[in-house]
């Protein structure tokens, strides 16, 4: 079972690009690149004239920017949970509550099926006075197995999140 890696991949790509561009500009400014003078203009007149002669290049640039903006928008939405939160499993939640009926003051219990049924997420919140150790043992040995069999199959990856409230 692995944590969502999309953010790390995105950060690595953007970070590497920034490092490359920044490193190139710094090396060029410090006259460390042979054959490329530091006193040269960042945008030479030759380039502006070339672009002015070919307006389609700017349309291509605008199209590329739109595509990149859409890719980063998709990253933003997924990082905020779009398509990753899964769906609530009523049967699983009911089975969890029945399994933990001995725990007094249980405030929150829920089961979610994530990633097209490839993962299960179980969340439980109990009071500080509850025997958390016994609860973990029960979840590990009985309850989660029963929920998995009912919801999908016995080999389903499951993440159990426990929280103790004040």
């Amino acid at each position: 079972m692995r944590q969502y890696a999309g953010n790390r991949i995105g950060l690595a790509v953007v970070g590497a690009l920034m490092l490359l561009i920044g490193g190139y500009a710094w090396a060029r400014g410090q006259d460390r690149l042979p054959g490329l003078p530091a006193r040269a203009r960042v945008l030479p007149e030759r380039v502006t004239e070339l672009i002015a002669e070919r307006p389609w290049a700017l349309w291509l640039l605008a199209l590329t920017l739109v595509l990149l903006a859409l890719v980063s928008l998709r990253w933003l939405l997924i990082s905020l949970g779009w398509g990753r939160l899964g769906t609530r499993s009523g049967t699983g939640t009911a089975m969890l509550c029945v399994g933990l009926k001995d725990i007094e003051g249980l405030t929150r219990a829920g089961v979610r099926v994530m990633g097209n049924g490839s993962r299960l997420r179980v969340s439980v919140t109990c009071p500080a006075a509850a025997d958390v150790g016994a609860m973990v043992g029960k979840l590990d040995r009985e309850i989660v197995g029963r929920i998995r069999r009912e919801v999908q199959d016995d080999e389903l990856d499951t993440l159990v999140r426990l929280h103790v409230r004040r």
Partner: protein
């Protein structure tokens, strides 16, 4: 007055593993490694911030370029001024900004590469397909509750450090050293019962009132 007492938790857990039948199931990957892989931070705040900035900058630039091409620039970005600036500046003028950009890139790369502290404290599970974790605040609360149940303890405070769990108890002036052991045992028992992985040893500190 502060009197630290260290309780080796690793020893307690090893003994439990030996006693409990079926606890030492041979696994291809260690439970701690498996749990850490599933519970390491997803870098959501950093990812969402960079993605939002990137989306905004790219979308505004695209709109600006497209509207300028049809002859009706929106004016959200001072494109003309930026082009003029690029035409006037030399690479030498950009050195400081370039260094800043490279440093920011390095920070993002480190954020992506460094595993980071687990969002939940991993708890031992017998099934390799199950990963159990308890929130740090939740673990603090349950341990504080256990420490406060020991006779003579007025108040307890728990701190989760990288390699230790520090329990500071406040007692009356008549408290004895055995109370430290009781608190250490109670906290160690709760941790062993919970089966937390990678929490290290328990350090109990005593603060007496009235001395």
């Amino acid at each position: 007055m502060r009197c630290p007492l260290r309780v080796p938790l690793i020893g307690v857990m090893t003994t439990l593993q030996q006693i409990l039948p079926g606890a030492a199931v041979a696994a291809p990957e260690s439970p701690l490694r498996r749990s850490r892989r599933a519970l390491r931070p997803a870098r959501t705040p950093a990812g969402a911030t960079v993605a939002l900035t990137l989306t905004a900058v790219l979308a505004i630039t695209a709109v600006e370029v497209a509207t300028a091409l049809v002859g009706r620039p929106l004016g959200l970005l001072p494109v003309d001024r930026l082009i003029e600036l690029a035409e006037r500046s030399s690479w030498r003028d950009l050195s400081l900004g370039a260094l800043g950009l490279a440093a920011a890139g390095l920070v993002l790369l480190l954020l992506a590469a460094v595993p980071g502290r687990c969002t939940l404290v991993p708890v031992e599970a017998t099934d390799p397909n199950i990963v159990i974790g308890i929130t740090r605040s939740g673990l603090r609360r349950t341990l504080r509750n256990v420490a406060q149940e020991v006779d003579g303890v007025n108040k307890a405070k728990v701190r989760l450090r990288r390699r230790t769990i520090e329990v500071t108890v406040r007692t009356g002036p008549e408290s004895t050293g055995s109370m430290l052991r009781h608190v250490g045992t109670a906290v160690g028992d709760r941790l062993a019962g919970l089966g937390t992985l990678s929490t290290g040893e328990v350090v109990v500190r005593l603060r007496r009132r009235g001395i």
